[in-house]
Amino acid sequence: MLNDIGLIALFIAFALGAYSVFSSLYGGMKGIRKWVESARNASVLTFVFLTISVFVLVYALVNLDLSLAYVADVSSTAMSPFLRITALWGGQQGSILFWAWLMAGFVAVVMLRKWESDRVLMPYFIVTAMLTTTFFIGVTVIITNPFARLWHVPGASELITAVFQPSNAMPYIPEEGSGLNPLLRHFGMIGHPPTTYLGFTGFVIPFAFAISALVTGQSQGDDWIRTSRRWTLVAWIFLSIGLILGGRWAYDVLGWGGFWGWDPIENAMLMPWLTGTAFLHSVMMTEKRGMLKKWNMVLIILTYSLVLFGTFITRTGIVSSVHAFSKTALGPAFFVFIGFTFVGSLSLLIWRWNTLKTEHELESIVSRESAFLLQNLIFVAITFAVFWGTVFPLISELVTGTKITVGPPYYQKVTGPLFGVIVLLMGIAPLFAWRKQAIRKLGKSLLIPFVISLIIAALWGYAHRTHPGSFAGLWLTTFVLLTIVMEFWKGLRARIKSKQETLWVAFGKLVARNRRRYGGYIIHMAVIMIALGFIGDTFFKEETQGSLSVGETLTLNNYELRFNGLEIYPGSDGREVLEASTTLFKDGEAIQDLSPRRDFFVVQQQPVTIPGVYSTAAGDVYVLLVGWEEIGLTSSTFKIYINPLVNWVWIGGIVMMFGTLIAAWPSQKNLRSRSYVLKPGTPQLQPNAGD
């Protein structure tokens, strides 16, 4: 009964979504406001009905209503209520419903904000955003319906999954569900998928504003950019957090000692992040200098298409990958929709090409503008290299019939130097002046960071002579970090001198008065921290493996691992736990007991390797149990990794969130300055929280 309500709500949401697309299109074309208003209400209601649907499904998952095929597939008695809730996005059907729900949520929030001067953008915003939302609801209704049931036709050997009862079939209710893929039974399940999905779906807002600006011819102005800037930041930070949490999760459960493996699914997430980051920067050129209007459009279209592409390859498993645990017939539908979005929006852009007039004035090639352009070019180049590496195995198979692998060495060699240039630009570009930068002056302001960073990197490099390649990376990060610190120091010194403020007051006011600028600097610092983690991973990682009897030790660098014993016990969630007890010594002194484990999920017949980790700011000692003597449990094989600087990736993630909050927080000054964009005669400005 309850499931029927969920199903009906899903149908209604689909109908409402479709209605809002047509109604706003009609209202927009004919200029009839009431049709647009009606579409607006319909799109908010779409979210309401989807919410009902989602809650019904969560209720079924938590209460293990095995009459639903989806519940039987991803939930089980052994799973905790927490994991049963997360099962909403643990499989195909649920995750697409979840996707549609989040996107509808974003659209509904934008609908409920106060539309002022940008009201003209509303009709086509609704058309664009609701078209995608409705597509996803449609997929949920027609192709992967989470409310489908299992049916048994007498005499048939296989069960049928269908929403409605097939002729002469009997409902079939299994006794127990299969439960989530063991790799997903982890606390990280609450973090990585929802944040990633929020990041993905959030990009619909700048995209829909951009398309609307193109259709209505408002793209010449930059209203759409000002209106959507904060939304873009929200989507971007969620995607960033999603990427970092994904890395953390892989580090915790995949048992290969690293956090980023250039897996196709990781790449699928990284690509929209790269173009989205380029977009965040290129819109600044438009805001400040009225430049790059066309390029912005290209970037947001690319970003959004890559979001859809990422969802496509994650959900269809077209590029074989460890993540692609679900292969279905979704492919063609997605493929057509991505093609439609990409080609449609590009055609629109070409149609409006000549209306996007920009003012180009440069006095010198050395200027902030060129630095921005170079940075954008490199972001797109990295995206291309990642895209090319991700799809090349498919192309190779199609063209030559040979299956090949494009592994981490390719990505490290091709994108590594490009990322290096990005980091360098991050350090020096903010010091460039618009229009023209005098090289002498630039050299003067960079001299101190340059010299200090060279000394630090040389000392560091001397201490780690065995890894000469790391020198460049360490110099680069130190140099950029120092230039950012210098920027802070310049602002602080000015305030302390002129206003007699204490250091902390000056710091608070400096940041509060220039949120975008200093928020940006803090984000840049976070990127440096994450870069440090990657440098540690690429250059300084060490590993060893060996078999130990009880009491024996394995040595790596100045660490020693002593094997104390092994025990087997039944764990929660239907797993059999094999846990080793070990002690880690550093320079001969015991520092921590570690318990690397091998959890074996009996029903799924799948092992999960959980490391024992000793963590410090300098790095992790990461111990894996990779083999053992079945009889007597007296001997085990361990793999030890030393992962220097790895924790800076997670710290950087937190700093990045903090910086984004500062950059995106609406300030009084912003609200006031927005009155310039209002048309004359508009009633007094209301600060709109959602904007």
Binding site: F392, V414, G469
Partner: protein, 161 residues
């Protein structure tokens, strides 16, 4: 870089191991240890599991393959001989780093070509933007830039598509 790193690790390990082996085997032949096996396996991908390096793959098949590498090392094969053997047996997909020969070389070439082209376009754009005398009549210039940029972007997008 990776090769250097592996080499340096190997050198350290080899020297460490030499001591152990000499003590244990009393000067007998040096047997490959787990780290030697992993150093080779790291350069290979599991021939059956999707996107899993052979040195970390957990399946029984991969354990057998690692055992095979150990035997080959014991028999005196070089790393390259073992890798070549795996390519012959299981195809190019076992290589972590794609070949630079034949059709596969495109995976390496195209990003380099794209960056080079991008730099040329960028330079042209910047040059055309530079206006030492701001009063230059711009419309015709603007138009030619636009179509040029359009062509380039279209070309790049074609490559992406």
């Amino acid at each position: 870089m990776m090769r250097k790193l592996i080499l340096s690790i190997l050198t350290i390990l080899a020297s460490l191991m030499a001591v152990v082996v000499v003590q244990a085997q009393d000067g007998g032949p040096i047997l490959p240890n787990d780290d030697d096996v992993n150093a080779v396996a790291k350069q290979l991908y599991c021939p059956v599991c999707p996107n899993t390096p052979l040195d970390v793959c957990e399946t029984q098949a991969c354990q057998d393959w690692r055992a095979q590498i150990r035997e080959q090392l014991t028999a005196g094969w070089t790393d390259q001989e073992i890798i070549d053997y795996f390519v012959v047996q299981y195809g190019e997909r076992v290589l972590a780093e794609p070949n630079r020969r034949g059709f596969t070389s495109f995976v390496w070439l195209l990003p380099i070509v794209a960056v080079a082209l991008g730099m040329i376009v960028l330079w042209q754009i910047l040059k055309s933007w530079r206006t030492p005398q701001p009063q230059v009549p711009t419309p015709s210039v603007e138009k030619s830039i636009s179509s040029e940029v359009l062509a380039k972007i279209e070309e790049e997008l074609h490559q992406l598509d």
